[in-house]
Amino acid sequence: MAAGQAMWSMNKIKVLFFATLRDRTGMKSVELEVPAGMTVQALKDKLSSDYPNLKESMKTILVSVNKEYSFDEAAIPQNAEVALFPPVSGG
């Protein structure tokens, strides 16, 4: 059943953490299998639950998907490189 397969199919994604978020998770990156079509918001919820230290960063967290800023409703594509980081402070 195509519909059933789609519902259950999983995407491989890579998640990178920078600055305070790397400190809070203790990881530079992690590879995950997530449900196809998972939104950015759902990924943030999952990570908050997996890494409770992240919770207090989640309000101001920025997310990029494949090196472009992304937002809560966006679906994360197969093989995406997702990054989580605080507001930038370069210069």
Binding site: T20, Y69, F85, P86, P87, V88, S89, G90, G91
Partner: protein, 159 residues
């Protein structure tokens, strides 16, 4: 007098580096035969800060999400070109790693034929935008310990 028409490709340079920022080299690379003016901004590590929260800084440790940072630097350059068509060359460079007071950390340089066609405003826009959208962070280390400096800007969709 006839001037030969030439297709000149305007140079756009952008990169993250751990090396010293060489202003002379970068300026030469964005200077064309038609260039008569350059506005260059550099930022440095302050050892002593007076404004807002006065403090001393031993060093800053910069990190970048390099491929995205370079993509966003390219985007800043494109934004500059779309706003100031007079701009000829653009260089955007961020140095990362452990950087001590009085060290240049970032450079934005724009060249143009003349100084009165927006070259100062273009450089100013460039550093403002870099600080908004280019994924770079700095950790400040000083007598009171170390802490990450967080920006304030939240990019919008399409940025």
């Amino acid at each position: 007098m006839m001037l030969k028409m030439q297709t000149i490709k305007f140079p756009t340079i952008f990169f993250i580096t751990e090396e010293e920022i060489n202003l002379n080299d970068l300026l030469a690379k964005i200077t064309l035969p038609t260039t008569g003016a350059a506005a260059i901004f550099t930022g440095m590590v302050r050892g002593v800060t007076s404004r807002d929260d006065p403090h001393e800084t031993a060093y800053l440790e910069y990190e970048a999400y390099v491929p995205m940072a370079e993509a966003k630097m390219r985007q800043v350059a494109e934004e500059i070109r779309s706003k100031w068509s007079s701009v000829e060359g653009i260089a955007i460079v961020q140095r990362v790693g452990k950087l001590y007071p009085q060290t240049p950390t970032v450079l934005i340089a724009c060249t143009a034929a003349h100084r009165d066609t927006g070259v100062f405003e273009a450089a100013r826009y460039g550093i403002d935008r870099l600080k908004e959208i280019v994924p770079i962070w700095k950790k400040e280390v000083g007598p009171d310990g170390e802490f990450w400096v967080e920006g304030e800007y939240i990019p919008k969709a399409g940025e």
